[in-house]
C-alpha cells in the first residue's frame, strides 16, 4: 500500500473538500430523513433563508465573519504543526479585553476607541494562547491538552468576572452594561446608507472587511514571508527546521500568539459589532467550528473564506429552518461541523485514496 498518494493540484484543492462537504450533506440528509422530515425541502429552506434575501445574506455574512476569524486562527497554528483547539477560550479572553476598553475608556473618540478595542481583543486572545504555546515550546507539554484546559479556565473565569465583578448591579443577567456608541464597529446597513444605498437591517458590520483583510494578511504571512516560511518548515519537518537555523521554540510561540490574536476577532465581531456589551458564552462554539472551516479550506485563506461562507449559510439557513421545521434544530450545524471535521480531517487519507484511485482508472501494478 502506498502511504500518501500524490493528487493533481486541482484535486487536492477542490475535490477533497468538495467530497467532504458532499458526504457531510448526505449524512446530514440521512439524519433529517431519520427524524421524519424531507431533506430536499429542508435544503431549499436553508438556501432560501440564507441567500434568498438581502437580509438573510447580511446575517449569513455576519456568521461567516466569525468563522473566517476562527478558521484563520486554527490554520495559522496548523501550519506550524500545532493544533490550537483553544479558540473558544482565546476569544472569551479577548471579549474581556474588549469590555475593559469599551467600559473604562468610553470617553475616548471613536477613531481612537475602536482601534484600541480591536487591538486589545487581539492582545488578550494572543496572551491566552501564549501560555500554552510557551508550555509546549519550553516545557514540552502538548498544546492540545493545555488549550483544552485553557478553554475551561477561560469559561470559569468569565463566569466569575461577569457574576461578581463586571455585572451591572441593576441587572439580573450576567452581562455588562452597554458599551458607549463610540465603541461600536459600524453596522453595514448604516455605512451603506451613508453612500445612499438602502440595505435591510442585519447584524452584519464592518468586522467583515477586517476579517477579509486578515485573510489576505495571513496569506501574505504564510506564503510570502520569511516568518511564514519558517512556520511551514516547522510544521512539516521540525528537525529540518533546526538544521535550517529556525528556532522551533520561537516559531511555536509566535504561531500560537498569532493564532490567539486572530481568534480575538470573534470578540470584535460579536461584541463591538453586534451585542455592544459583554455576555456569557458569546463564543458559542464558533471556535470549534473554526476547526472544520480550517480543515475544509485546506489551511489556505481563500479556502477558509469559502468554507466560512458555507458555514455562514448553514448557520443562518439553520436558524430559518428551525423556525419553519421545528423538528430540525440549529444543533444540526454542530452535527454537520462534526461530519466535515471527520471527513476533511480524520478520514482525509481515505478520501485521498478513493479519489486517487478513481482518477487513475488503470492503476499501476506497483501501487
Amino acid at each position: 500500500m502506498v502511504a500518501v498518494r500524490d493528487l493533481p493540484r486541482w484535486a487536492e484543492v477542490a475535490l477533497v473538500p468538495a467530497v467532504a462537504v458532499a458526504a457531510a450533506f448526505l449524512l446530514a440528509g440521512l439524519v433529517v430523513l431519520g427524524i421524519g422530515e424531507n431533506p430536499l425541502k429542508a435544503s431549499r429552506i436553508l438556501v432560501q433563508g440564507s441567500l434568498g434575501s438581502a437580509e438573510g445574506l447580511g446575517f449569513t455574512l455576519f456568521y461567516a465573519t466569525n468563522f473566517i476569524f476562527t478558521g484563520l486562527a486554527v490554520a495559522v497554528a496548523y501550519h506550524a504543526g500545532l493544533f490550537n483547539i483553544g479558540g473558544e477560550g482565546q476569544a472569551t479572553l479577548a471579549g474581556f479585553g474588549v469590555a475593559l476598553v469599551c467600559l473604562h475608556l468610553g470617553s475616548l473618540p471613536a477613531p481612537l476607541l475602536v482601534p484600541l478595542g480591536i487591538g486589545t481583543a487581539a492582545l488578550f486572545g494572543a496572551a491566552w494562547a501564549f501560555v500554552p504555546g510557551y508550555l509546549q515550546a519550553r516545557r514540552g507539554s502538548h498544546v492540545v491538552i493545555t488549550t483544552i484546559m485553557f478553554n475551561w479556565l477561560a469559561n470559569v473565569l468569565m463566569v466569575y468576572l461577569l457574576v461578581n465583578v463586571l455585572r451591572e448591579p441593576a441587572s439580573m443577567n450576567p452581562e455588562t452594561r452597554s458599551f458607549v456608541p463610540a465603541s461600536h464597529v459600524p453596522f453595514m446597513h448604516d455605512v451603506l446608507r451613508g453612500f445612499g444605498v438602502e440595505a435591510p437591517t442585519s447584524q452584519l458590520n464592518l468586522s467583515l472587511l477586517m476579517a477579509l483583510v486578515a485573510a489576505v494578511a495571513v496569506w501574505l504571512l504564510i506564503y510570502r514571508s520569511r516568518l511564514g516560511y519558517a512556520i511551514r518548515v516547522v510544521g512539516q519537518n521540525p528537525r529540518a527546521a533546526v538544521y535550517a537555523g529556525i528556532s522551533v521554540e520561537r516559531i511555536t510561540i509566535v504561531a500560537m500568539v498569532l493564532s490567539g490574536a486572530l481568534a480575538g476577532g470573534l470578540a470584535v465581531n460579536e461584541l463591538m459589532g453586534y451585542q455592544h456589551r459583554l455576555i456569557l458564552e458569546f463564543s458559542a462554539g464558533y471556535g470549534f467550528v473554526g476547526i472544520a472551516v480550517a480543515l475544509m479550506g485546506r489551511g489556505h485563506p481563500a479556502g477558509i473564506v469559502l468554507a466560512a461562507l458555507l458555514f455562514g449559510v448553514l448557520y443562518q439557513g439553520g436558524a430559518e429552518l428551525s423556525f419553519e421545521q421545528p423538528k430540525i434544530t440549529r444543533d444540526m450545524i454542530v452535527v454537520m461541523g462534526g461530519i466535515v471535521i471527520l471527513m476533511a480531517g480524520a478520514l482525509e487519507g481515505l478520501f485521498r485514496r478513493i479519489i486517487a484511485a478513481s482518477l487513475k482508472p488503470l492503476p499501476l501494478a506497483s501501487a
Partner: protein
Amino acid sequence: MDAAGLLALLDSGLRLSIPLLFACLAGLWSEKSGVVDIGLEGKMLAAAFAAGAAAYATASAWVGLAAALAASAAFAVLHGFASISQRGNQIVSGVAINMLALGLTAVLGHAWFGQGGRTPPVDGAGRFGDVVLGHSVLVYVALLAVPLTAWGLAQTRFGLRVRAVGENPAAVDTAGVSVEGLRYAAVLIGGLLCGLGGAYLAIAQSAGFIPNMTAGKGFIALAALIFARWRAWPALGTCYLFGLLDAAAIRLQGTVLPGIGEVPVQAVQALPYLMTVVLLGGLIGRAVPPRAAGVPYVKER
C-alpha cells in the same frame, strides 16, 4: 462542619467522581495502546442519551445500559477506524466525535421527545436504584474497574501487549502480534467504559438525559488521566479528589472562610484544570505520556 456533614461531603464526592473515573479509565486504556482520545466527552454524552432514551422507551435500566454501551462503542469504533485503520489525526477525530455527539444528541432528543432535548423522566425499573450503602450498582462497577484495569494492564499478556504497542509498536509488530488488533481492542474497552459512565450519568445519578449533561466531565477526566500519569490507582485518587472538589464547590457557595473571605465557587471549579496545567508545565514533577501516543503506526513492507 460536623461529622455528618463531612460524611455527606465525602459521599457526594464519590457520586460525582464516578463518571470521571469511568472516562479516565477509558482514556487510560486507549492512550496506553497509543491512541489519544479527546473524544471521551462525546462518547459519554452519546451513551447518556442512548441510556436515557432506551430506558424511557423500555422502562428497563439494563436495556438503557446496553444502548449506552452500544452507542459509545460505535463511536469508539469510528475513532478506531479513523485513527488506526486510516491513520488519520487522532486529535481531529476526537474533536469530530465530540461535535457529532453534542449535535446528534440534541437534534435527536429534540425530534423524538420535543422537551427541549431532554428525555422524559425515567424512574422505577428504568433507573439503577441504590443497592448497597445508598449507591447504585454502577458505582461498584466503577470501583471494581480500577483494580481490573491495574491488574489487566500490569499482569496479563494482553495488558503487556497493549502497553508495548503504546510504547514501541514496531517491536510488537516484529513479534508477530497485530498492532491494529490490539489498538482496536483497547479503544473498544475505552468505548465500553465511557458507555458505563454515560449510563451512570443519565439513569443512575439523574433520572433521564439532559442536553450536554456531561458538561466537560470528559475533559476533566482527561486532566485526571494526566494528573494520575496514566496509572489506574492514582486515577482513582485523582478522580475522587476532583469529585470532592466539585462537591465542595456546591457546598461552599456563599460560605465565608475565616481570613479568606467568601470563596468564589469558580476558584474551586478551576482547580482541576489549573492543577493539570501546572503539572504539565513541569512545576510539580513531570507527566510523560506513552511514547507512541498519538502516532499512527505504519507497517513497513
